[in-house]
Symmetry: C2
Subunit: 357 residues, 2 copies
């Protein structure tokens, strides 16, 4: 009678015994991992059904059954970027059984610290992952920490700021230097630059990389080739139209992110220009958009998901006060990498008028 275990709650062990498989296999089926043979999977599911077994949280890689939740705070117009951030943070949350609340905000709100503090308190959050530009406003960071709110920041910086506030920093400057250098090495001398939002330090860091590369290669910066704007397709379109209408238009345009570069591509096409033969275009981020345009965009691969996962791991490790976990102790840097695709090519020099007959 013992074996029927009537009245006893079935366990993962009971399931394993009935299905004649290992505990690990039952766990794999429960977690929907791919490495289980279909017949075995079917047997385990059958056993689960027969026993009316309900998986225990511990069987699902959830190390905690309490409602620990962190928040992700962002203010960004770029859907792909937000999804990349979310997926990275979610992946760290799932490793550790944390939940995630998302909180888009208006970074220009005058009472943002109060608003975020209220969000943390109302939703009983354990901490926040702050993205740019909020993560780059020291007054905000300090105001939150003064209220006892644990945060991990994602910021743009060429090196560890060592300012005492935990962060993951992304070296946008160096990657922007590489992109500009790539264009210069293709023979481009007139390279346009389209800014993203000035509120985001990533924009100024990318600009500094562009400026430094021009300087190192002895190219005089022409202020007419630099246009301010936001991290959007529309601003890329408008900025490019303006540059292409110059008396001496650029032969290459570096957009501060892939959305901007996609806008440049559309602008080039709208005036019948061939990319890259008549205009080279580079973006930044390696978003799906950059691979899906035709031609695909030269860009800098910014591992947004990895960056966000790292920041969330830092936050969670610090919340757990896990002394052995080195991740909570030290800031960490990421370096985006140049990815060359079809949208950049050698400069096509205009025919010298005197050579024409």
């Amino acid at each position: 009678m013992e074996e029927e275990s009537s009245g006893r709650k079935p366990t993962i062990r009971t399931v394993a015994e009935l299905a004649k498989v290992s505990l690990k296999t039952v766990s794999r089926v429960i977690n929907n991992e791919p490495s289980v043979l279909p017949a075995t999977r079917a047997r385990v599911l059958q056993a689960i059904a027969e026993l009316d077994y309900e998986p225990d949280p511990s069987a699902r890689n959830l190390r905690s059954s309490s409602a620990f939740v962190i928040g992700l705070v962002y203010d960004n117009p770029n859907s792909y970027h937000i999804i990349g951030l979310q997926n990275g943070v979610l992946s760290a949350c799932r490793e550790t059984g944390f939940g995630l609340q998302i909180y888009p905000c208006d970074s220009t709100s005058p009472l943002l610290a109060e608003e975020l503090a209220e969000f943390v308190q109302r939703s009983r959050l354990a901490g926040l992952v702050l993205t740019a530009p909020m993560s780059e406003r020291m007054d905000l960071v300090e105001a939150l920490e003064a209220r006892g709110i644990r945060i991990a920041r994602i910021i743009a910086a060429a090196q560890d700021p060592q300012d005492g506030h935990p962060c993951v920093y992304v070296d946008d400057r160096d990657a922007a230097y590489e992109i500009t250098e790539h264009l210069i090495q293709l023979g481009h001398q007139r390279i346009g630059f389209l800014w993203g939002s000035e509120e985001h330090r990533s924009s100024s860091e990318r600009y500094l990389g562009y400026e430094q590369a021009l300087k190192d290669y002895g190219i005089t910066l022409d202020r007419h080739l630099v246009v301010k704007g936001d991290y959007t397709f529309d601003d890329g379109f408008r900025g490019a139209r303006r540059l292409l209408a110059l008396r001496e238009p650029p032969t290459a345009i570096f957009g501060c992110n892939d959305e901007i570069a996609a806008g440049v591509l559309a602008a080039a096409r709208s005036v019948g220009m061939d990319v890259p033969y008549e205009l080279s275009i580079a973006g930044f981020e390696d978003s799906p958009f950059s691979r899906q345009s035709w031609p695909a965009l030269t860009t800098a691969k910014q591992a947004t998901g990895d960056i966000a996962r790292y920041a969330a791991r830092m936050l969670i490790a610090s919340l757990r006060n896990d002394g052995e976990n080195a991740i909570a102790q030290q800031n960490h840097g990421f370096a985006p990498q140049l990815v060359v695709r079809g949208s950049t090519g050698p400069v096509r020099l205009r025919p010298n008028p005197r050579q024409e007959s």
Copy 2:
């Protein structure tokens, strides 16, 4: 001494008095609404700072200070669609002071009901907004309701399913009919159709609309023009390459969403075809992608944000058990609308070989 109110916690009224403005104006500044003159705004912020006032939740359109949180469950490869859903649900949450946890899942997981029940319990959620395909699996919906979990569903359906489970339904079939009719009226007879994921009812509904329009216009359906796939750019690219390699290729291709249609556009460009002169392309959803491609895509405008907001409002109204709130009582339908853009044009008939010299 009363007036210095030492020791008393400042209120929104104290701020209004000190700044010599109305309560409404203080509230507007706190909520960062645009309709306040800069000088007035500065005076209010000054008063807030002087009094060290911390806004009360009730001053911020938050009607509840408890941690009510709902969850958004999705399994979708399309970033723009997810962001649209999130923004809609968030907007309903903000109207009512609810928090939002997001939960991407694997819709093929064998124990999804248990997984979601655990998510609800662990995070103490008040209810779930279920999106497709989870929302369309009646076994899952019933299993969740049997566990006492409140849900609102977003589904694809030509009419109210009246199945006793709250939902917002989107008439994809009718909109797909309109798109196909538009192509037929441009003279197209060979119209390719690229499926999205078969797990999503939206795919089959869109297919039914396509099929019905062909039938109504007396066009025989050629099975070679119909290709299965997923809601992705890559499947659009692959499917289009296959269709364009046919001995009798289509003159128009209807992709089941805008990502697919963007893949078709890239495929057309990769073989040097001019859109729309040599190939018309239509998508579905009106995602930013559809406006940003060149030419922009003809599509069906699906108000994803509005749809998701409605579903979240239904859920929240039912949680509040607000008898006067009609929104909780009745399912609601949305009808996507045809949007004609540059990617579709009149069929260009091939020259009759006998006419060539």
